[in-house]
Structure formats: structure tokens, C-alpha cells
């Protein structure tokens, strides 16, 4: 999973030569063998490395504050989102929905690596949502739809249908 994600990220970043990855441990943590340096371990570490290699450091955030926010969401992705329990899904979506209420991207107005990795990470959850739930977590859905249509991001993942109109009003049914 993580390896396909890194391959997609490489394509998005426009890196010509695909890297070779291996995994380690039960959790299949990705490892990147570097020719002239010690190997890089972990999804976020490798992803940040790829961003720098592609000379797209703006994806890690412009300014100290943005950089911190990006790192925070990258951390969230691997600690909270990966390996979440089924009963956590609602909490994750609720919190994220509230956070995204006044934001286009996770780091505010700037598209960053956090958006890409959160999108990859949350895809399976969103795919399983019913239409009514997608409407309930409207801000998450809006952000998700925006990212999946961001040029070059989606790659290995199937598109998720998102309706533009509200079907369920505040009343019951």
C-alpha cells in the first residue's frame, strides 16, 4: 500500500527514475536504499526526501508555521489514520470536518504534501461512505473531491463519486 503510494507520489512530483523500495517489519514500513547515504525508513521521511529531490520544497510549507502544520498532518496520517479502528472513523471524520470548515487545503491556502498523503490515507474510508454520510462530512468531502481532481495526484486510486447538491436537509429521513 505504502509502496504504491510512494510510486504515485513520484509520478506526481515528476521524478524520472522510479526508486526501488523494500519493506521491513510486520507493519511493512517502507525503506529506500540510498546509493551514497544510509537507507531512509518510513513513509513520511521518504516522502519528504522525494519532495526535496524534485526541488518542490514549497510542498513542505512556506514559512515556519506552515512547515509545522504540514509536519503535524503528516504525523497525524501515520499515527492516527493508519491502522485506525472501525469505531474511530466517525471521530476522525468529525474532527477533520470541523478543521476543514474554513480551509481549502490542510495547511490553509497552500497545497502541500500533507494533502497528498492524507488523501491517499483516507481514500478507503471515503470510498465506503454512503451518500448521506458524505453529505454529513461535507467539508471533508469537498476537500477530498478537490484533491482527487488535483492534476496528477490520484494515480493508483479509483475516483470517488461526489454530489455537488445537497440531498438531505436538516430534517429527518
Amino acid at each position: 500500500m505504502a509502496l504504491r503510494e510512494l510510486a504515485s507520489l513520484e509520478k506526481y512530483l515528476g521524478l524520472k527514475k522510479p526508486n526501488k523500495y523494500s519493506t521491513q517489519g510486520d507493519k511493512k514500513v517502507p525503506v529506500l536504499q540510498n546509493n551514497n547515504a544510509p537507507p531512509l525508513v518510513g513513509l513520511v521521511t521518504i516522502a519528504c526526501h522525494l519532495v526535496k529531490e524534485a526541488k518542490r520544497s514549497e510542498l513542505l510549507g512556506c514559512g515556519a508555521e506552515a512547515r509545522a502544520v504540514v509536519q503535524q498532518w503528516l504525523e497525524y496520517r501515520v499515527t492516527k489514520l493508519d491502522g485506525h479502528a472501525k469505531e474511530d472513523i466517525k471521530t476522525i471524520l468529525k474532527d477533520l470536518n470541523l478543521y476543514l470548515q474554513d480551509k481549502v487545503y490542510l495547511a490553509g491556502n497552500q497545497f502541500t504534501l500533507a494533502d497528498v498523503l492524507m488523501y491517499y490515507g483516507i481514500h478507503s474510508i471515503i470510498l465506503d461512505l454512503a451518500v448521506q454520510e458524505k453529505e454529513q462530512y461535507m467539508n471533508v468531502t469537498r476537500w477530498f473531491d478537490h484533491i482527487q481532481h488535483h492534476p496528477g495526484v490520484r494515480h493508483h486510486l479509483p475516483p470517488v463519486a461526489v454530489l455537488r447538491n445537497r440531498l438531505y436537509t436538516s430534517r429527518h429521513h
Binding site: A130, V131, H172, H173
Partner: protein, 531 residues
């Protein structure tokens, strides 16, 4: 401690003890005296009550009404108590909804069906103290005959349906006394969900309601629901009769199940067994073959499906239509949808009070419909669902969640709660459904939906005996068992179609309720056979 001291102490103690005892005795004596006095007073009161009650003939428990006499007394209805009746002396029969005594006055709320009025008994030259006491002690839900003067009130009485007048009671007689403990309180049964939660007030759950249905049916909400339901039947009949339909009665005990037979009730019928009809299908069709041209019937329908859902009953009232058409089965669809529209219009125009009453407890958006009714084809519906991200095969039947979602999508796009879904896949319909001439995978069948839930299933039927036999064989139905049905088409049968509606579902969905048991007076489901 010296001995003397000890002695002194005990003496003192004794002294104290005897003092205490004395006091106690005194107190007891006082108490007894008081009691005696009270009793004497009570007895005196009783006596004086018996003797001095000038209003003795103005209240009480009369003998049971056994039709001893024909009183020439006009009873006014509560809903007719308006300011025009002010200062008139009237008689009235109603239930005691609540009573509240306050010193020399007793306020009663008298209820008649969904209407209620405030009444008052006050000590004066018409009523005695004893009469007020009697009025205050009448148990809730008792039925009383009341003679009273109608008086205008200065401030509107918000809690009653008759807000402009109150009754000054001159006589009050209990015709039927209710037991003091009710299994449920009417106020609790009409409380909207969530309201009164902060005050810790109770609501009554559905099973308790249904167990005590007779009392639950007295609530304003139930009264309104079933008045509206009666309206649906009446509008159905009136509309169809105007269109030249004939009402028919069909047997409910039948020899063979119309659709295979898995979900029918079996009853023992002398030495063999019979089934309870799951639809009047066969008989409606036979009437068409017998030249009745356009028929409808209103009657019970039985389903032995073990489904415990919000919208399934094992016995419900079916409103069935069958009609011969000239060239295209859309003539039938148009006829049925127009009937439905007439019903919706009739409810909207004549049952606003009932709708509002139900809405108070169960809020919902007003029911919307288009004229002419929206007709979608199955393939269009599939396209809409797929666009919304639903994965479905071309010939799959609609699942309940998908039905509901489709209802939402249609409402959003066309702003209607009522629509027809046409051209279902042939594979998911019964054997007597006419295949679509243009695409044998589809059929000339349709469902109708209200608020995204199915209320009617219908189709053009096969009126050709040979094709019918083929279709029955394809569905592996024993031809022997449906011989008489197939035979009815051998002697000239006009092309025809129809459909059946569930009365309870129509009421439930029109009012935006959540459970079909709310619109069934005495619901029957796999787990309920009483009351």
C-alpha cells in the same frame, strides 16, 4: 465515684424518666383529643354535607345507561363551542382530560376526540362545596354529562382547542367512571421526541402504546392520523368511481398462492388447506376477463414474510386497481397516478387540521408532487444512482437504501416526493408481467414511490394464455395449481394492467411518519397478534 453519688444519679435519672413519660402521656392524650375532635368535626361535616348540600341533585353517579328513558336533551359538540354560543345553557358529553382543584374552584379540561374546552365548577349559588369536591375527584378519562353556561373569556386559553370560551358548570354527572390508574398518560403519548427531556418528562414507547392501543388512539395525533386515513379511502373511492370504476369484493381464502407461495399464510380448510390472499390479483384480472373493464377493491391483504421492519405488516389494507386499456399500458399508469394526485390534493385541501396536528408531534416537510406525475425509466434511475457512486448491475432489483437514495436524488432534481419508476427488469417481477416488446430483458411494469419508499407495484399483465403458460413454466410454477387462472384468458381477454397500494404506507409516507404501525389501527406483524 461514691455510692451516694451513684444513688443520686439514678434517682435523678428516674425522675427524668418519669418526667419524660409524663410528657409523652400528655402528648398522647392531646393527640387523641385532637383526633376525636377531628373525627367529630368530620362526622359533623359529613352530616351537614348530607343535610345541607343544597346542590345534591346537581352532581353524582347516575344509574348505568340501560336505555331506561329517552331524554329530550340536545348534546352540543365540543368543536361547536364558539363565542356565538356565549351565555347559552347547554348540555355536553365529554371525557375528563384533566382536573385541577383550587380552593373553592375546580378547573376541568373536557375532551371530545381532538377538541377540548376548559370548564369550571365554582362554589356559588349553583354549586356547593361538596359538588366542587366531587368534580375534583372524578378520575381522568371518565365520561361525564355536563350542563353548563358558555362564557366568553378575556384571555385566550392556549392549552385548549376552544380558546375563546369556557364552560361554567351547573350540573355534572359521571356516565362512565375510569379506573384511577391509567396504563399511560395521554400527555406523555403526544409529546414530540426530545421535547421535555430536560424536565425529565416521559415519552411512551411504541410497544406500550400498541399494548394499550385503545387509550393511545384517543390522543390527538392518533385521532388525526386515522381521520386522514379514512379520507384516503374515501378519496380513492370517489376518484375511481368518477372515472367509471366498479368496486368489487374478492375472496380472501384462496386455493393457490398467486406468486409462488413461499410467503403466504396457510389455513386449514376442512380436510385440506387453503391460503390467505396475498393480493386480490387473480380475482381482479378475472373480473377484467368478465368484462367489468375497470375495477378496484379495498380490503385486507396478508403477507407471511417474517420481516420486522418499519414498513412491513403481516396484514394490511390493500387498495387495488385493475383496468383494461386500449393500446398502451401507460393509460393505466396515467389513471393510477391521477388517482394518487387527486388523493394528495384532497388531503391537502380538506385535511389541513389533521396534517397540522400530526406535524406537531412528528414534524415533516409538506408532501410535494408534480402534475402530471414524473415518470422515470429504470435505466435512467440506474444512471442517476451510478452518478452518485452506487454500483449496481443492469438487472438488479433496487435495494431499500438505494430506493431511498433514489428518492432523494429525484427530490433534489425534480422537487417531487411522488414519482413512477417504469420498465423494471423482467427477471425481478412476477410471472404474469408482460415483457417489454423492445427489450426482452425489461418489462412493462412499474413501481410508485412516496418519499423514496415504494407504495405501489404494478404492471401490464399477460392476457394471452399461451404466453402466460410459458412465463409460468419459466418461473417453475405448478400449472395444475393455477389452471383456473390461466383458463380465464382462453376465451378472449382484453389487454389490461393495474397495481396495488398499501393504505398504511400511503398514510405513513404522506405524513412523513417513521413506522407503519403508527398508521395501522391494530397492527399485525410477526411479533404482534394483540390487541
Amino acid at each position: 465515684m461514691t455510692k451516694e453519688e451513684v444513688n443520686g444519679a439514678t434517682e435523678e435519672e428516674q425522675h427524668a424518666q418519669s418526667k419524660k413519660a409524663l410528657k409523652k402521656q400528655q402528648k398522647e392524650a392531646e393527640k387523641a383529643a385532637k383526633k376525636a375532635e377531628k373525627q367529630a368535626k368530620l362526622a359533623a361535616e359529613q352530616q351537614s354535607a348530607d343535610e345541607d348540600d343544597f346542590a345534591k341533585d346537581r352532581y353524582g353517579l347516575p344509574a348505568m345507561v340501560q336505555s331506561q328513558e329517552k331524554l329530550d336533551r340536545a348534546l352540543v359538540r365540543v368543536q361547536d363551542l364558539t363565542p356565538e354560543k356565549a351565555d347559552q345553557l347547554i348540555w355536553l358529553r365529554a371525557r375528563v382530560h384533566t382536573s385541577r382543584a383550587k380552593g373553592k374552584q375546580c378547573f376541568l379540561v373536557l375532551r371530545q376526540q381532538q377538541f377540548n374546552v376548559q370548564a369550571l365548577v365554582a362554589v356559588g349559588d349553583r354549586a356547593s362545596k361538596q359538588m366542587v369536591k366531587f368534580a375534583a375527584n372524578i378520575t381522568k378519562e371518565s365520561i361525564v354529562d355536563v350542563e353548563a353556561v358558555v362564557r366568553k373569556v378575556e384571555q385566550k386559553i392556549e392549552s385548549c382547542s376552544q380558546q375563546d370560551v369556557e364552560l361554567h358548570i351547573e350540573r355534572i354527572f359521571v356516565i362512565s367512571q375510569a379506573e384511577p390508574r391509567l396504563p399511560l398518560q395521554l400527555e406523555d403519548a403526544v409529546r414530540p421526541d426530545g421535547e421535555g427531556e430536560e424536565e425529565g418528562r416521559a415519552t411512551v414507547n411504541q410497544d406500550t402504546r400498541l399494548d394499550n392501543r385503545v387509550i393511545d388512539l384517543r390522543t390527538t395525533t392518533s385521532q388525526a392520523i386515522f381521520r386522514l386515513q379514512s379520507g384516503v379511502c374515501q378519496l380513492f373511492r370517489d376518484t375511481l368511481t368518477k372515472k367509471g370504476f366498479v368496486e368489487i369484493q374478492t375472496p380472501k381464502i384462496i386455493s393457490a398462492a398467486s406468486e409462488g407461495g413461499a410467503n403466504v399464510f396457510t389455513v386449514s380448510y376442512f380436510k385440506s388447506s387453503a391460503y390467505l390472499a396475498q393480493s386480490p390479483q387473480l380475482y381482479k384480472q378475472m373480473c377484467i376477463c368478465a368484462d367489468f373493464d375497470k375495477v378496484f377493491c379495498v380490503g385486507p391483504v396478508f403477507r407471511a414474510e417474517d420481516s420486522n421492519t418499519h414498513r412491513h405488516l403481516t396484514e394490511f389494507v390493500g387498495l387495488d386497481i385493475e383496468m383494461a386499456f386500449n393500446y398502451h399500458y401507460h393509460e393505466v399508469i396515467d389513471s393510477i397516478t391521477d388517482t394518487m394526485v387527486q388523493i394528495f390534493k384532497g388531503l391537502r385541501d380538506n385535511f389541513q387540521t389533521e396534517i397540522q396536528t400530526v406535524n406537531k408531534q412528528f414534524p415533516s416537510e409538506p408532501f410535494k408532487f408534480l402534475e402530471p406525475t414524473l415518470r422515470l425509466e429504470y435505466t435512467e434511475a440506474l444512471a442517476m444512482l451510478r452518478e452518485a457512486g452506487v454500483e449496481m448491475g443492469d438487472e438488479d432489483d433496487l435495494s431499500t437504501p438505494n430506493e431511498k437514495l433514489l428518492g432523494r436524488l429525484v427530490k433534489e432534481k425534480y422537487d417531487t416526493d411522488f414519482y413512477v419508476l417504469d420498465k423494471y427488469p423482467l427477471a425481478v417481477r412476477p410471472f404474469y408481467t408482460m415483457p417489454d416488446p423492445n427489450n426482452p430483458k425489461y418489462s412493462n411494469s412499474y413501481d410508485m414511490f412516496m418519499r423514496g419508499e415504494e407504495i405501489l407495484s404494478g404492471a401490464q399483465r399477460v392476457h394471452d394464455a399461451q404466453l402466460l403458460t410459458e412465463r409460468a413454466l419459466h418461473h417453475q410454477i405448478d400449472l395444475e395449481k393455477i389452471k383456473s387462472y390461466i383458463d380465464s384468458f382462453r376465451y378472449g381477454a382484453p389487454p389490461h394492467g393495474g397495481g396495488g397500494i398499501g393504505l398504511e404506507r400511503v398514510c405513513m409516507l404522506y405524513l412523513g411518519l417513521h413506522n407503519v404501525r403508527q398508521t395501522s389501527m391494530f397492527p399485525r406483524d410477526p411479533k404482534r397478534l394483540t390487541p
